[in-house]
Symmetry: C2
Subunit: 217 residues, 2 copies
């Protein structure tokens, strides 16, 4: 492994989960070694991009031999921190929160969902995928008794910022946010990743408009 002080470009970091996904599939097929050319073909990128990307993290391949799939996948898992266990809560037990709670990939990547919180009496006390939905008024007492690293925010836009502020005041530092709002904090120890569904829909719309414009010439 290279020194951790080297800054990895953001674009590379955002591609790493994709490498992880492909290597998992390749492993499931029973493939043990793969060349950068074959890996790049599967992923629809150039072989030199694969080599450049992976070189940021160390020397995984052997000349003329290719990559050991299991080893590379394990190393990427380590880089991604997937070998660590992360206790998670989901705030918002509506359809989106429920969909996330049912996400089968989370537990086996170290994301251990402890519970969900909501303010709707209809869902409080029910279980989703074996996990209890608690009254959001119990948040303080729950966090006093349980270590929570990550909060997944599956909430309406209007309340997301205030819930995030409340969680931060209670010591939660890491967030996956689904509301169409950017949570920004000056404290560098607070980390927010966002999934903006409507932004993706707008990007699709842009690409459609562009493609139709090109067709018209």
């Amino acid at each position: 492994m290279k020194s951790s002080t080297v800054t990895i470009p953001n674009a590379v970091i955002h591609r790493l989960p994709r490498y992880y996904r492909y290597l998992r599939d390749i492993m499931d097929e029973g493939v043990e070694r793969i060349s950068s050319i074959d890996l790049s073909k599967r992923m629809g990128v150039t072989a030199s991009q694969v080599r450049q990307d992976l070189n940021h993290f160390g020397d995984f391949g052997q000349q003329g031999y290719g990559y050991n799939v299991a080893y590379l996948r394990e190393e990427i898992a380590k880089i991604l921190g997937l070998s660590e266990s992360h206790p998670v809560i989901i705030f918002g037990a509506g359809h989106l929160g429920t969909a996330i709670a049912n996400h089968s990939n989370f537990p086996r990547r170290g994301f251990e969902i402890l519970t969900l919180f909501d303010n709707d009496p209809k869902v409080i006390g029910t279980t989703i995928n074996g996990m209890l939905v608690r009254d959001e008024n119990e948040l303080e007492s729950f966090l006093a008794e349980n270590k929570v690293e990550i909060a997944i925010l599956a909430l309406p836009k209007a309340v997301t910022q205030s819930v995030a502020d409340r969680l931060i005041s209670l010591g939660v530092r890491y967030f996956l946010n689904f509301a169409p709002v950017d949570l920004r904090y000056d404290d560098p120890s607070i980390i927010v990743e966002s999934v903006h569904i409507s932004d993706s829909m707008m990007t699709l719309s842009y690409r459609i408009a562009k493609s139709q414009e090109e067709k018209k010439g």
Copy 2:
């Protein structure tokens, strides 16, 4: 407007929906004009990035005057193709599909959800946010009678590729995919945007690992 043949960098395109979101909020506050400096402060980027990004699409600002918020928002809406109406179907009426069908922003941005499809007898025939869930066996007849541009795929990974292939064979060309699989087609008229929830979770995990490593020195 500059010539449409100019290639806009992907990074800029992915930032456009964000500009649109901010300008909508700024408009809702009743602000009529904004300088690139004020806009950049709100968005947490540099003023020169704002100017550079927007310059790709034309000359929206006036020196010493700033941007007309309503005009800029309208122009970005046009660039994003949001002034066009896009008929949409959702494939998969589970929790994720239901959450998307309830997404309040879609209709007012021109994404007109016509119906949902599923294969579960328990949900077929029910309505979600006023929209009927149809039997997926009715897909062919529905598409023969209705113009559909975009299919949102809210399906398990294992079936996503085959459903996408089937939709393409029926003439659907544009997709928003939520499954952790990359849909790739050689036909450039087929456009896929993906929302990979677990990739975002892994990126968050990476940033957490990196931040903890730095803290340890």
